[in-house]
Symmetry: C2
Subunit: 260 residues, 2 copies
DNA sequence: CCAAAAGTGTTGGAATTACACCCATGG
DNA sequence: CCATGGGTGTAATTCCAACACTTTTGG
């Protein structure tokens, strides 16, 4: 959405195309420099950070809407996307908004119409995505003039109740890692043991014994060692590994029970 | 909602009181006769079974809406209620409805107004509740003339995509039992080992060794043996047990990791 | 040759599983 | 007295956690 006409039309007539009262917030996780990161956008007017989000088209399945929204932002296809909560309790999710709030706080010209669909109480469905940091090419638009990846430990204050949304996404991810393999969507196709090791440490927020960790993944048949190495510094080169797609998919479907 | 005027008002003006496009479906689990059951209502017109549900008031927090809806049906306070999914993908959750569908299929007189708020596409937030079967006193109303508890293994065809809703609730419950204690809300205050044992077997859908099971619960400090027994038949009387509220609450909050 | 990071096995303890017999009760 | 279901302990095994030294590499 980038031309002035498009925006005016969206503000005035958006409820013809989109369902009112409901939006999608997406928490896009990437992994870089041994850190779990999420993608934030800088919003005009408000001049602060917020999650990528959007609305659901009138006839669009919910999961397709989430897919479209993240796809448009990141350029990625075949996303790993997961719904994790619907937010409708916080004060931000109860209030209607006003012309004044939009103009003063967000610097948006929404006309004088107090009945605008954007003012109505809007609940939000949270989705998280796990993406390969290096494949993402972020697209900003006229509402969002900048973007940045942030360490999950250093998220700035966000719009509305979005800090809570991020917390819930993280909590879901941490719980899920006990029942499902994670990594296929966060790492490049070939990766080293230290990389995936540190990914798990980052997500779980605690140290994991390297020997036990690799034994476990190999024992589960989730990864296999390749005959290649990657030279990365003045020290021993690590072997590359790959996920065993079949075992991985099985584990995703059937679930695994384990501690790390 | 029981008088004709109330209903007419709800149909005509409901969108003044409730958010359109969004509803709540509740899966109410109870436990009776060694069986995990859910509460279904028989709907007029459609003449089939469906989940208890309702709408969210304009200014009402989402979780309060779920609470209100289940409370009104069951008469229970202090519910254990948990949001588990929002449904917006199935064909039933995409379509708008029509006067014809309402009159013919559901036997409801909604007037001739094709713009009625009830016709609009409606996504549904799924909540499940765990309740003490014996404390529930179900209230039907003019839309729902009968109710019945059904074994989770024998759920009849339900309205819309509600069979999928039930499946998802069950799947969530089964996953959750690995991380949280369950039973406090499903069993009476005092219960026997065979009762809680069979509850867990029912939820997990598999047999659990009785000796190991009780050792585990006692070792975790979740239950304690009382000095009473319950006489129930021509055989040895089982001891009664009680949950240790504090340990139970801690386990709920912090989570536990275990297999059964 | 040295600093930095990768790689690799073993062991003790804890937790989990498997398993069978006696006991209490009401009819 | 008998049929029914409740209660209890131990041994074998598996799984998990803890732990330290050697290898490789580029500079």
């Amino acid at each position: 959405m980038n031309s002035q006409e498009e925006i005016a039309d969206f503000i005035r007539n958006g409820s013809q195309y989109y369902l009112p009262h409901l939006s999608i917030d997406s928490v896009i996780f990437g992994y870089h420099n041994q850190q779990l990161k999420i993608l934030l956008l800088k919003w005009i007017g408000y001049n602060g950070w917020g999650l990528p989000g959007g609305f659901i088209q009138r006839r669009e399945p919910l999961s397709e809407a989430a897919n479209r929204i993240v796809q448009e932002r990141t350029g990625l296809e075949d996303l790993f996307l997961q719904q994790f909560h619907i937010f409708g309790d916080s004060p931000y999710r109860l209030q209607e908004r006003s012309v004044r709030e939009f103009t003063e706080k967000y610097g948006l010209d929404v006309g004088a119409d107090e009945d605008n669909w954007l003012f109505e109480r809007t609940l939000s469905v949270g989705y998280f995505a796990l993406v390969d940091y290096f494949r993402v090419s972020v697209r900003t638009d006229i509402f969002t003039y900048d973007y940045q990846w942030w360490d999950v430990g250093e998220i700035p204050p966000l719009l509305f109740d979005q800090n809570e949304v991020v917390e819930k996404a993280l909590a879901t991810l941490r719980l899920q890692i006990y029942h499902q393999p994670i990594g296929y969507n966060l790492l490049p196709e070939k990766f080293t043991l230290p990389e995936i090791h540190s990914l798990y440490e980052t997500i779980l927020g605690k140290e994991l014994d390297g020997r036990n960790f690799s034994k476990k993944l190999v024992a589960l048949g989730l990864i296999k060692k390749l005959d290649e190495r990657r030279a990365i510094g003045p020290h021993r080169s690590p072997y590359l590994y790959q996920f065993e797609k079949d075992a991985y998919e099985d584990a995703l479907k059937q679930g695994i029970v384990h501690t790390y």
